[in-house]
């Protein structure tokens, strides 16, 4: 025993046990638990020991341990509660159903959003000590101090870091496929084009900890000919997972190389910012001293207690020492691995990254919808229980205590919230199934890892259950029994009615904000998609490996002869997918994006020539030297105008001599990056080489037929090379995936929140009109018309909705404007959107209340008045 002083177990847990446990059992049980707690405290932290203590206490909630007398009484009471709860629910079927449905919608949205947000936040956290892993990035600087953020680094960096910094525990560099396809397989007739191949150092698994199924992370990449596969790749090539020692061949045109499988990994998780299926060693010679080849990504794992700030401050001087003598230096810095997915927006990212702004928006939305539905529930339940004053009066007469009354109400409301929670989980599952392709991962809510996310929903279910039960109970406590039984509403009833209105107003204000938000997002996306894109990617199919054919001209003419094809153009990259850049311009260089194309690409992509001409096959000179077609921004930033087209102009400086070039044509500006950024300069060059990407504009909608036609032609020409293709739309959609996600999810949530507000309005109107049936009847008897009588009721509700809009719309304006500010090209928030928000909420209110008040007004007043 290290300590003679005994530890005291949590007092609350002990007291809890005493409340239900049989007297004669208490002593021995508490003794056992006490003794156990002493042992727990020796090996565990206090909180962990406390948790375990509670765990054991909860395990005594078994029939054998219960205090028999207390237990039976309790059961009778709860049976009674249950009976009453059931009666109330079935008596007001419609309202109970609305109650449960609207609350469960709120839970569903909340659960959906919290799982989505948690997934986004969980990127790369599965690595061991992920907080110590950093990516090193180097931003390019030009002589004017312009900075181009860039994720790539030279190969000499990783070995230099581990040698120069004591803070760095291990470092690794890797090179992705850079758009290349590798023909991999076990034999000539069982091989596939693969792009998910990464070449790396043997230290890869010192930094990253992707889980192994077979093989060991310590030795997997020791041999130069070793290859590590993922489960998916192993199953694809071998049909089984245990493939250690098997051989796999990389087929090249000149020679083949064979690798031995040394490890099989689990498939790369969806929350990893880079993916791969094949991992081999880097085999380039003399790259450890190469500081100029920016084709690698560098990651380091810091030693546990090293000072990150000190490391960060030493990076730049260290880097400048390597490139001594240069006039200006690129900027080197580190990024925490776990921040890359949401916060890094560099050039050449390894995948499509998320957006922190969207995470904030989604979290706010999830809470919004939950809030709307909780307010709704609160409002309905309180209004409904208010109508039960007679029952309460009778219960009080028979001696019901204030606490037991509260207990009954809370029991009922918690029962309903639990129903709603269960329905909400089921609904969230439906949402996930609907949006699976959009959010990009599969969720099965019944799997235990989601329990954490369900927890806040459970807490809020309990909380509003208790709140909406306690509030009326406290309210009833002050009732005089006599007045209650007689059914006289006292002055406190009025304050309850006005609170009802306030809650309703808040709901509608939140709905108005959400309607505005989704309209703005929708219009903005629409604006960018249709009016401002500048090129057409519809029905454009990209065929890869087009350069593997002996004769590109044959391929082109064969493809063009097909019925399904209207245009064919070749390029060495994909607009929107490739990021090649170069410095161009004289005397000031600008950063110019470019790809190499043939004479057909502009037409295939529907790029509009503003001036000049397209590349011409007949003019050999178009395919040599610096002859470019440039976009408007490029022309302007190079400092030229439309009148300079066709002239010999200074383009750049190479080895102290000015190199001239010609602008052949100018195309209209077009979007090729994320919609948030401004359009950048873009240039097209022409070369006579075979180009790898064939862009094919299809003329029919019959995709299946067109593709099979293409496949036949491809097979004839290539003699059985696998055909790899995709649609250009996919590439472009991935550029603004985050915005598309936002708009779709927002649409769902807004629809659902309007539905909740609708249900809430309907039910509240229902209850209010029931209270006013006599008033309505009297007015009619005294000569009021159906229209004027029902209008009186409707007006009261319309005023609430109008006030809600007046509060909500300015907030919506501020929120949407700040969102739009992130875009380089944005719409202005017009009055039309506000008008639509006001009119739709008013219409909802008018329809729901109008229908009911009209129905109340046309009933025969005699029927109402003859009651009591």
């Amino acid at each position: 025993m290290p300590s003679s002083e005994p530890y005291n177990p949590p007092k609350l847990a002990e007291r809890f046990l005493r409340t239900f446990c049989r007297k004669e059992l208490q002593d021995e049980v508490l003794g056992d638990l006490y003794e156990h707690y002493q042992e727990l405290r020796i090996g565990n932290a206090k909180w962990r020991a406390d948790m375990k203590y509670w765990y054991h206490v909860f395990h005594f909630l078994r029939p054998f341990a219960f205090n028999k007398k207390y237990n039976s009484n309790l059961m009778v009471m709860y049976n009674n509660y249950l009976k009453f709860a059931w009666r109330i629910i079935t008596k007001h079927k419609a309202i109970s159903l609305m109650n449960i449905v609207s609350l469960s919608i709120g839970f569903a949205c909340f659960i959906f959003i919290s799982i989505y947000v948690n997934h986004e936040l969980s990127y790369d956290q599965f690595h061991d000590r992920s907080e110590n892993i950093k990516r090193i990035a180097i931003d390019f600087m030009d002589e004017k101090g312009n900075r181009t953020p860039d994720a790539t680094t030279p190969p000499a960096l990783a070995p230099a870091l581990i040698n120069s910094f004591e803070e760095v525990g291990s470092s690794v560099r890797f090179m992705p496929n850079w758009g290349n396809k590798y023909l991999l397989g076990t034999s000539d007739d069982k091989r596939f084009f693969e792009e998910e191949l990464i070449r790396t150092d043997s230290t890869f698994f010192d930094v990253f900890s992707f889980p192994f199924l077979y093989g060991s992370p310590n030795t997997a990449l020791d041999q130069i000919n070793s290859i590590v596969l993922t489960k998916r790749a192993a199953l694809k090539h071998f049909g089984k997972m245990e493939v250690i020692g098997e051989e796999i061949t990389l087929f090249r045109t000149d020679d083949n190389s064979t690798y031995v499988v040394t490890g099989v990994l689990e498939n790369i998780p969806e929350n990893s910012h880079f993916t791969f299926d094949y991992l081999t060693r880097l085999t380039f010679e003399n790259i450890d001293q190469n500081w100029g080849w920016f084709n690698f990504y560098t990651y380091v794992k810091m030693n546990p207690l090293s000072d990150e700030v000190v490391f960060e401050n030493k990076l730049q001087p260290f880097y400048e020492k390597q490139s001594e003598g240069a006039e200006y230096f690129n900027m080197i810095y580190s990024q925490p691995l776990t921040d890359i997915h949401l916060k890094s927006k560099l050039k050449w990212e390894l995948g499509v990254n998320g957006d922190m702004t969207n995470i904030y928006i989604f979290s706010a939305l999830g809470i919004f919808v939950l809030l709307i539905s909780c307010l709704n529930y609160l409002n309905l339940t309180i209004a409904q229980s208010f109508a039960r004053f007679k029952e309460v009066g009778v219960r009080k007469t028979f001696g019901a205590h204030q606490n037991t009354l509260a207990g009954q109400f809370v029991f009922e409301t918690i029962l309903i919230t639990i129903f709603a929670l269960i329905a909400g989980v089921a609904m969230a599952q439906l949402l996930f199934m609907n949006l699976e392709s959009l959010i990009g991962f599969e969720v099965k809510l019944y799997e235990p890892q989601h329990l954490n996310t369900l927890f806040p929903a459970m807490i809020s279910a309990l909380f509003i259950g208790i709140l909406s039960g306690v509030y009326p109970a406290v309210h009833f406590a002050s009732f005089k029994v006599a007045t209650a039984v007689k059914g006289v509403i006292n002055s406190k009833g009025k304050s309850l009615v006005s609170m009802r209105k306030v809650l309703l107003a808040i709901q509608f204000a939140l709905s108005a904000i959400m309607i505005c938000g989704s309209l703005v997002v929708y219009e903005q996306l629409n604006h960018l998609n249709t009016k401002n894109k500048g090129l057409s990617t519809d029905q454009v199919l990209v065929l890869e490996n087009a350069n593997k054919l002996p004769n590109q001209a044959t391929l082109k003419s064969e493809l063009e002869s097909l019925n399904a094809v209207s245009e064919v153009g070749f390029a060495n990259g994909i607009v929107g997918g490739t990021n090649w850049t170069t410095g161009l311009g004289y005397p000031d260089e600008i950063l110019m994006n470019y790809i190499v194309i043939d004479d057909g690409l502009l037409k295939t992509l529907n790029l509009e020539l503003l001036a000049g001409r397209n590349f011409d096959k007949e003019r050999k000179s178009d395919y040599e030297g610096l002859k470019i077609i440039v976009n408007e921004t490029g022309l302007e930033q190079m400092g030229y105008t439309l009148s300079d087209i066709g002239l010999e102009l200074p383009f750049t400086v190479q080895n102290d001599t000015i190199v001239n070039g010609t602008i052949v044509g100018v195309v209209k500006d077009f979007h090729f990056t994320n919609y948030k950024s401004k359009i950048q300069p873009y240039a097209f060059l022409a070369r006579d080489n075979a180009l790898p990407y064939a862009h094919i504009k299809l003329s029919t909608n019959d995709l299946a037929h067109s593709i099979s036609e293409l496949e036949t032609t491809w097979n004839e020409l290539t003699g059985g090379l696998p055909m790899e293709y995709y649609f250009l739309d996919e590439t472009f959609n991935s550029l603004h995936l985050e915005q598309v996600k936002l708009s779709k999810i927002l649409l769902y949530l807004t629809t659902l929140s309007i539905l909740i507000a609708f249900i809430g309005m309907y039910a509240i109107a229902n209850i209010t009109i029931k209270d006013q049936l006599k008033e309505i009847a009297l007015r009619k008897v005294l000569g009021g018309s159906v229209i004027s009588v029902s209008q009186r009721v409707i007006n009261k509700f319309l005023v609430i909705v109008l006030i809600a809009n007046i509060i909500g719309l300015p907030i919506a304006y501020v929120l949407t404007s700040s969102w739009l500010n992130e875009f380089a090209y944005r719409i202005t928030v017009g009055i039309g959107i506000f008008f639509l928000a006001i009119s739709s909420t008013m219409l909802v209110a008018w329809l729901t209340v109008g229908y009911q008040s009209f129905r109340a007004a046309i009933t025969n007043p005699a029927k109402v008045l003859k009651q009591d």
């Binding site: 059992l25 002593d27 021995e28 508490l30 003794g31 056992d32 395990h59 909630l61 054998f64 341990a65």
Partner: protein, 118 residues
């Protein structure tokens, strides 16, 4: 005979009470269960089984004086009764009897061979 049936977990507890004699009480019975069988059980589960066994008359118990280690609280020491011994023995005999009736052929079972024949 309903009521005096000995469940699998109960049998385990009963045996362990015997093993730990004379110092068998809730907490160390649980520890022994974990050590001997590798089954992780809550203290409550053990107490529950003990109280059932006592009700059935397979165990008897007496309270021992409290110690400092237990915060001054008493512990209940358990002991197997004659009926308890009888119950374990019946279970054991039945098991041994059945075991001896299994023919050797059953162990070299050859479902594969049977199917291959088909």
């Amino acid at each position: 005979m309903k009521g005096t049936h000995l469940g699998e977990f109960e049998e385990l507890i009963l045996l362990i009470v015997g093993v730990l004699y004379p110092d068998a009480y809730g907490l160390n019975i649980r520890e022994e269960v974990i050590n001997q069988s590798g089954r992780k059980v809550a203290i409550g589960a053990v107490h529950s089984a003990l109280s059932r066994l006592e009700e059935k008359g397979f165990l008897k118990s007496e309270l021992a004086v409290g110690t400092h280690k237990r915060g001054g609280r008493r512990k209940r020491l358990f002991q197997i009764t004659a009926a308890g011994k009888e119950a374990i023995k019946t279970n054991r005999d039945l098991r041994n009897d059945l075991w001896s009736q299994i023919s050797d052929l059953a162990w070299n079972n050859n479902i594969d061979a049977i199917f291959r024949a088909i």
